[in-house]
Symmetry: C2
Subunit: 127 residues, 2 copies
């Protein structure tokens, strides 16, 4: 939202001119909390409190904001069971699952190459 601040993006990157859209989606992937949430939800629906426990370090504020934007993008579905106290479940939508599998590929990459990256950094910083 209001990413328009960042000037007019008429660029040669990608084939399609509105790179803003492309960037919007990539920003979603770029968000570290979104990635972690989508990865967890790839395992199946989870309650709010489950997510909060699983992602130690995330603040209530950020968990809510993350879930809201994922829901807004149609990647996550929110289900409220009006018991008392209320129960809220989050699950990936079908489209959300397709993104989740892409993200999963990235995570696999990250795990496979983290030693390489760490070594590269050490070497770079040494010189």
């Amino acid at each position: 939202m209001t990413r328009a601040r960042h000037t007019d993006v008429r660029e040669t990157i990608g084939d399609d001119h509105p790179t803003c859209r492309l960037r919007d989606v990539l920003d979603r992937v770029g968000d570290k909390w979104s990635v972690l949430v989508m990865d967890l939800l790839g395992d199946g629906p989870k309650r709010y409190s489950e997510l909060q426990r699983s992602i130690a370090g995330i603040s209530q504020r950020m968990l809510t904001l993350t879930l809201r934007s994922l829901e807004r993008d149609g990647l996550v579905e929110r289900t409220v069971t009006p018991t008392s106290p209320p129960r809220v479940d989050y699950a990936l939508t079908p489209v959300g699952r397709t993104l989740s599998s892409q993200v999963s590929g990235l995570i696999v990459w990250a795990r496979q190459h983290r030693d390489y990256v760490a070594a590269s950094r050490a070497r770079y910083d040494a010189s």
Copy 2:
């Protein structure tokens, strides 16, 4: 298998050791400029000024910082030709290419689903 395809994101994130390295790598993907630069370099080596021209909207500062961190991570190689004026070329390393291909998967996803995402947002914002 219910959770085999997932990473150990369940580890705490509060303590910085185990997961933060994973996150460091994902942050690289998360950076919007890094993604664009890697995508461009996927086509072959490029000069500094070519990148700057292709990615309209990027500041000189950010292009330099982005390239430096990609180089530090061993994903991009910097080659200086000491002519006058100097010429600097950037190219993906072999490992950089493997990440680049993951990234292109994401970009393909983004193109395929950008209408869906846009529609979801419109519907969400309307309610």
